[in-house]
Symmetry: C2
Subunit: 444 residues, 2 copies
């Protein structure tokens, strides 16, 4: 309410302008939408905390250089950026990792270990406005920092699976596709792609599922067919278990294989292996990841990736900070909500009042207010009609506000300090002494 | 985690650049700060909901025109604004009211009544970077829309007071200064300032407390001294009760006086009058407000206003929307946190684990994991050491993580399925069967 509205005379002139719309690609959260959003955020928070993660946040914009440093100058066109009057250049954050790196670099040695941090940042990307392309979204991030042991890799995957379970998804509906960069490199090597050519190979593989098979095979064979034809690649990189891939390969071994087996054992120990599948096709096309990589998808691949993450070996290196290894992931709000909607699994949420107060007669209104004050001071959600009106109309409002009970203040209150509490679901009613009302409502 | 880190070779070059700092005037929320922030937001949410308000949100930026429409072109220099590739002009929101107006205008007739909405938007203003001037902040907003009855004015003030009480402030520490534009106009009229000159008079009065007395008096007398000398103005506009002002005036009457008496009676009915003081010097310098106006201040005036609000008679008029009267307020996060800090009342918050799990020997680690999985699946906050190490070191970690209890998995578990639960505050310990652990911890 801080800034000035234009004077009314001016308003009369401007009033003829067309209405101003919501900006393209941005969402309004009316109360019904907000309940869904809060439900999702609560699930993210609860699951994070149950695993011992603590929450952090950063600013909505950072110096533009922070993003250029991480992603090169090409990133600028994907950002909303601007200058202040001092000609400093800023950009609204398109992801949380650079902020995380900056915050960790600034206090790396002072932070208590282990660093298990989560956040639910709002972020923007300058997408072309078109249906289904959001310019603003929220993204759950969780990271374990300063630890290079495989149990941490498994634990961040376990957090993701705990969330999938919590919102009611089963392994037949959502799957975590897990691989590791070193193991994938080992697989490439085993079919004859030498290390110096693997970067280009990973870039292609990363697009394998998004490219028509014939087109992919042609591209692959043009570049790598001399070493390994596309059919051979597919026989190894389209497996859903490491055992299958091994069978196709006649056995692989070495440290990458052993490390991956460790990861898999920890996934079993965390009781989340039922949601996980080995998929060497997951490479995350990102120079940044150095070990475990994973993506979460709807099992029928009907949606964009629900989440993605992995291990990186030096978060703060770009910022001249100390060496900080870590493992983490990001999960956007929109794909999850869209999947739940498609599955008919969007939760039914209302914002029920604990009590709607009704006066049997207008003369009891001061007493009604006193009851309302008492309930509200006890943290109960209580409301009442602003208008003094007939009982029936007040009951109608109680229903439309989804109140759990109606509390009627009438002659019993005047005579004995008693209220009538009516359960609006069952219709049952009982007399309750004013002193016991808050306790009784909390019990219901 | 979505975008690409620059390849490592490049990083080695860039690594020599100076570290990138947090942007000026923006805050990082490390976990300790975030707990304070969440504590404040939870209080805002709980209080809003106890009064039957429901939450909404809007986009972080809007069309720049929305703000120009409300506040004139002069607002642009106070905003962070930018264009997208389609040359649309946007600005990061500096306040929530224009977004609220847009959202209400779009669905005014479809929204269930009463419209009691709250929000905790993040917003930015292009302040000059200097100590204590934040460019980014959060602001609790609550509004009752579509209702022009005085009970709504009193209720939004009651919400503010409920929050002040909830965070432990007393009337000797924080005060709600209440006035009404029509009543203040009546007072000005009574000392001889005619309606057509009152706009200028209000602008001056709005700056009265921020201006040295002699300077104010000179300005006032230059313009209005002919009708009413500054001393006369002060005798009326520096009163802390309506009765005092009346005494100085020899009585005022009329509809403005009656409406204000109604407001005061409702404030008493909401049991919040002890925090409220009549202060005709509160004019909110804003063409936008048409009725009740109020500001919340530290009682010793040591801080900027903690909150401000009032009644406006047509929220959506500027947007060509239907006539929607309303009353509401905004309260920033920073002044409240600063006041609590000055009072030594910043809450002590930790992020306690419900249980820290300890294995009596490394061979019990698989069982420890099973217990951790079970507790976490029950929504309990459980963690354990990543390293297999001596009992003493594990207990030390349990303390440093502020765990309520340590749960020791040892031979009793192997033999009888029992765990040792040790209360880390009292030192007491007991054996608990695995089946009862989650229930027992929830009870603690």
């Amino acid at each position: 309410m801080g800034l000035q509205f234009a004077p009314r005379a001016e308003a009369a002139i401007i009033g003829r302008m067309p209405k101003i719309q919501s900006p393209p690609g941005m969402r309004d959260f009316y109360p019904d939408d907000m309940r869904q959003q809060n439900w999702l955020f609560d699930a993210w928070r609860d699951v994070s905390r149950s695993f011992g993660f603590v929450e952090y946040e950063g600013p909505i914009f950072e110096y533009l250089d922070l993003y250029k440093l991480k992603s090169g100058d090409g990133i600028v066109s994907e950002l909303f950026h601007f200058q202040d009057r001092g000609e400093r250049e800023f950009a609204i954050r398109p992801e949380m990792t650079p902020t995380l790196a900056r915050m960790i670099a600034a206090r790396a040695n002072a932070l208590p270990r282990p660093i298990k941090w989560f956040s639910i940042p709002r972020m923007c990307r300058a997408e072309k406005p078109q249906k289904g392309r959001l310019r603003e979204f929220f993204q759950w991030n969780a990271d374990i920092l300063g630890l290079d042991e495989m149990i941490a890799d498994a634990e961040v995957i376990a957090v993701v699976v705990a969330f999938l379970r919590r919102i009611g998804l089963s392994p037949s509906e959502a799957v975590v596709k897990v691989s590791s960069r070193p193991l994938a490199a080992r697989l490439l090597e085993s079919i004859g792609i030498a290390p110096e050519r693997q970067g280009g190979a990973f870039d292609l593989i990363d697009r394998m599922t998004k490219t028509p098979a014939a087109e992919f095979d042609k591209k692959w064979n043009d570049e790598f067919g001399g070493s390994a034809p596309a059919a051979r690649l597919r026989s190894v990189f389209r497996q859903s278990s490491l055992a299958d891939a091994e069978a196709a390969l006649g056995g692989i071994d070495g440290p990458a294989r052993e490390a991956f087996a460790d990861l898999w054992n920890f996934l079993k120990a965390f009781d989340v292996a039922d949601f996980c599948r080995f998929d060497p096709g997951v490479v995350r096309g990102i120079a940044y990841y150095t070990g475990t990589v994973f993506e979460v998808h709807a099992a029928d691949r009907s949606h964009r990736a629900l989440a993605g993450g992995g291990r990186y070996d030096n978060l703060t290196g770009l910022l001249d900070g100390p060496n900080v290894p870590g493992v983490g992931f990001g999960m956007g709000d929109a794909p999850i909500q869209s999947l739940l909607a498609d599955l008919g699994r969007t939760p039914k949420l209302d914002e029920a009042l604990d009590a709607f107060l009704i006066d049997a007669d207008a003369r009891f209104f001061p007493q009604l207010m006193a009851v309302a004050n008492r309930l509200r001071a006890n943290g109960l959600r209580a409301d009442f009609s602003y208008k003094r009106q007939a009982l029936g109309k007040q009951f109608k409002q109680a229903s439309s506000r989804a109140a759990r009970v109606a509390v009627i203040i009438g002659e019993e209150f005047e005579q004995r300090g008693e209220l009538i509490v009516k359960n609006l679901a069952t219709g049952q009613q009982q007399a309750v002494a004013i002193e016991e009302l808050a306790t009784e409502l909390s019990r219901l």
